[in-house]
């Protein structure tokens, strides 16, 4: 058995920087699962891998860029989305995926998130939501449910959290889905759909954070959290995003909520400027090296 193990390799390894494995994530952390689902989606969508760029910010999920064998960028806290905007606008042929955490994308990166969604910038945002700032030791974040206990809310959280699908839809995202790490095949399918479409696609994946969120709130191990997802999640495709609040250990409504067509930033720019400037407008396409 062992000899054959050495000869055969885990197919996911061809997408990973194997010289950096094992990764830094904790036992029971769901980020590795989301990465495998993402790799599966890349493989199934048969997308040209050379053109895929991964941009991530700071945090546990921010480390994803360092493990994927694609053009990957580990940028500053909260600025993954404008960085990705620059990449995409400079070379529209790139397929840009922003893979980052809830604190990075929604708190410090909140302003960039809402504007990129408003502009329907063509990119895929995979927001791994573990309800806290894990890398720095488990602080309260913009998605932490009420009553949860974290290091900067030691008496329990009294701040209202964001309802991410509602926020994304309100800002103008054209594809909004929420899944948990347990819904791995559905995460893969959502990522596949997002990769094959154009526009601002937002996929929230609720993942277990064992060492911090679960431990501080006495929620058990990764298995306990997955069981909670299993027992409490309900798929409601197309649900009204206003009803998708998450209370502490409460019901999780998952599914694909928004999927609509709308011109992307570049589409709108090209169409409008062609109409106004006529022949003088240089249609914005790929910039070749001079």
């Amino acid at each position: 058995m062992k000899k054959e193990d050495i000869e055969e390799k885990n197919p996911v390894e061809s997408f990973l920087r194997m010289d950096r494995i094992p990764h830094i994530w904790c036992p029971g952390c769901g980020i590795g699962t989301v990465v495998t689902s993402f790799v599966e989606a890349l493989r199934k969508s048969e997308i040209e891998l050379d053109k895929v760029c991964i941009v991530s910010g700071i945090g546990c999920t921010g480390r994803v860029a360092g493990y994927l064998k694609l053009d990957s960028f580990h940028t500053t806290h909260g600025r993954a989305i404008p960085f990705a905007t620059g990449l995409k606008l400079a070379n529209p042929e790139l397929k840009v995926v922003v893979f980052s955490g809830d604190g990075d994308l929604i708190a410090i990166g909140g302003n960039h998130f809402i504007h990129a969604a408003r502009r329907n910038m063509d990119m895929v945002i995979i927001c791994v939501n573990n309800f806290n700032y894990a890398m720095t030791g488990g602080q309260v974040g913009p998605t932490t449910p009420l009553e949860a206990n974290l290091s900067t809310a030691p008496y329990g959280n009294f701040e209202y959290p964001f309802n991410l699908p509602f926020l994304a839809e309100a800002c103008g995202a054209t594809y909004v889905a929420r899944w948990t790490a347990l819904h791995l095949r559905r995460v893969t399918k959502s990522i596949q759909e997002a990769l094959s479409r154009r526009g601002f696609s937002f996929i929230e994946v609720i993942t277990p954070c064992v060492t911090l969120y679960a431990r501080r709130n006495r929620l058990g191990s990764g298995l306990n959290l997955l069981k909670y997802y299993h027992d409490n999640s309900e798929i409601q495709h197309g649900a009204d995003t206003r009803t998708l609040d998450i209370s502490f250990q409460g019901k999780l409504i998952v599914g694909k909520f928004v999927d609509k067509e709308k011109p992307t930033f570049l589409d709108a720019m090209n169409k409008h400027l062609s109409r106004v400037l006529g022949d003088r407008y240089q249609l914005y396409g790929r910039i070749d090296d001079d």
Partner: protein, 388 residues
């Protein structure tokens, strides 16, 4: 270093009457800049406005981002996609951009940032001139890194130095700053834009070896690594964390002590090739006036008046303010009596001059907190005092 001719699409050849801000935009387009991300802030807004008007006609893209932090992040992203990119701002926006300027320095990304300075600190004097960000441009972001900063004194120089800035940023893979001020930015003067084949553009240092052997941060002989762009199949990784030659984060002291000295030394050790200063009558001088930007034009009147009174005054105009011309200032200090340093701030570059003079010559600053240019008589009085 590969030199090419400018792309004719972006060059508005001819004799124009432009203000400094517009000249910066035209210089960038002539240099091949095809991506601009910015945020409106007085007195730099006109640069963004000019870009918004001109860049769709030359095959580039303009985006007004939601804030300055987004602007500089987008510029860095665009540069990684292989396009020359630029942003502009003023004092408050400059402070906002600092973290990502550090990222650009760490990731070694060529980009150009123009700061049309105004009175500070904080919101200060939005519509009036200042030169109060000269230390910030050098030390603004945390940690050790080194940048290049140029200081034009006229709209014509705004045009010329912007092209120079793009070239320097490509050679050294470093963010380069154009430190003008509201006076030069809003001043209308004659700007001559030459034909495209008279404009020299330096190409980016592209890697041309086998894909699987590519190491993103392996330095070349000049301490600058070769660059690639996203989408070409190199599958590189780059990070703001301390990294090794592969671009992978290595969190230990050894790696830090290899990477950071190189980031600084690639500018410091090449300083002789970068520094540009304009000297006048320094060989026979007793007093030397060191100035930059608009102040150097004001100083001309003071210097003329002093010379009429028989004082032997020379001038040094700093075209590159950073890296600072340490050696020249030190060498000259031994021969002269005093340096007079007028600047539109409460004393910033004067401390650099003091440091380099090493006590051999006295250093007299002529500060002005901003809001207007100096009264030439103030500079003249300082020269006269120094010559006693």
């Amino acid at each position: 270093m590969k030199k090419v001719k400018a792309d004719p699409k972006g060059v508005l050849t001819g004799v124009h009457y432009l203000d400094g801000d517009f000249a910066i935009a035209e210089g960038a387009l002539a240099a091949g800049c095809r991506f601009f991300a910015g945020y409106p802030i007085t007195p730099s807004t006109e640069v963004a406005e000019r870009f918004a008007e001109r860049i769709p006609l030359v095959g580039g893209v303009f985006i007004q981002m939601e804030d300055e932090l987004g602007s500089i992040a987008a510029v860095i992203g665009a540069s990684w996609a292989g396009v020359k990119a630029m942003t502009v701002t003023s004092g408050p926006g400059f402070s906002l951009m600092m973290e990502n300027i550090g990222l650009a320095a760490m990731m070694e990304v060529p980009c150009v940032i123009a700061n049309v300075q105004r009175g500070g600190p904080s919101t200060g004097l939005p519509t009036l001139t200042g030169q109060g960000d000269m230390m910030q441009v050098r030390w603004g972001s945390h940690g050790d890194y080194e940048i290049i900063a140029l200081s034009p004194d006229s709209p014509q120089e705004c045009f010329d130095l912007t092209i120079e800035a793009f070239n320097l940023s490509e050679i050294y893979r470093v963010p380069v700053f154009i430190m003008t001020d509201e006076c030069v930015g809003h001043m209308h003067e004659k700007v001559v834009i030459p034909p495209p084949d008279e404009i020299e553009i330096i190409e980016r240092k592209w890697y041309e070896g086998p894909k699987d052997k590519y190491l993103p941060y392996k330095p070349d002989k000049d301490m600058v690594p070769f660059m690639v762009k996203a989408g070409d199949g190199y599958r590189f990784h780059t990070t703001g964390l301390t990294h090794d030659e592969r671009g992978y984060p290595i969190i230990n002291a050894e790696c830090q002590n290899v990477l950071v000295p190189r980031l600084v030394d690639k500018i410091r050790k090449n300083a002789n090739k970068i520094i540009k200063i304009e000297e006048e009558e320094t060989d026979t001088a007793e007093i030397v006036v060191i100035s930059y930007g608009i102040t150097s034009r004001v100083a001309v009147k003071a210097v003329q008046k002093a010379r009429k009174e028989g004082i032997k005054v020379g001038t040094i105009r700093l075209i590159t303010v950073w890296p600072f011309p340490d050696e020249r200032i030190k060498e000259l200090a031994k021969k002269i009596k005093a340096y007079v340093v007028p600047e539109i701030n409460y004393g910033q570059i004067v401390f650099e001059v003091e440091r380099c003079a090493e006590g051999h010559a006295s250093v007299i600053g002529v500060p002005h907190c901003g809001g207007w240019v100096h009264d030439p008589d103030d500079i003249f009085n300082a020269i006269k005092e120094a010559s006693k």
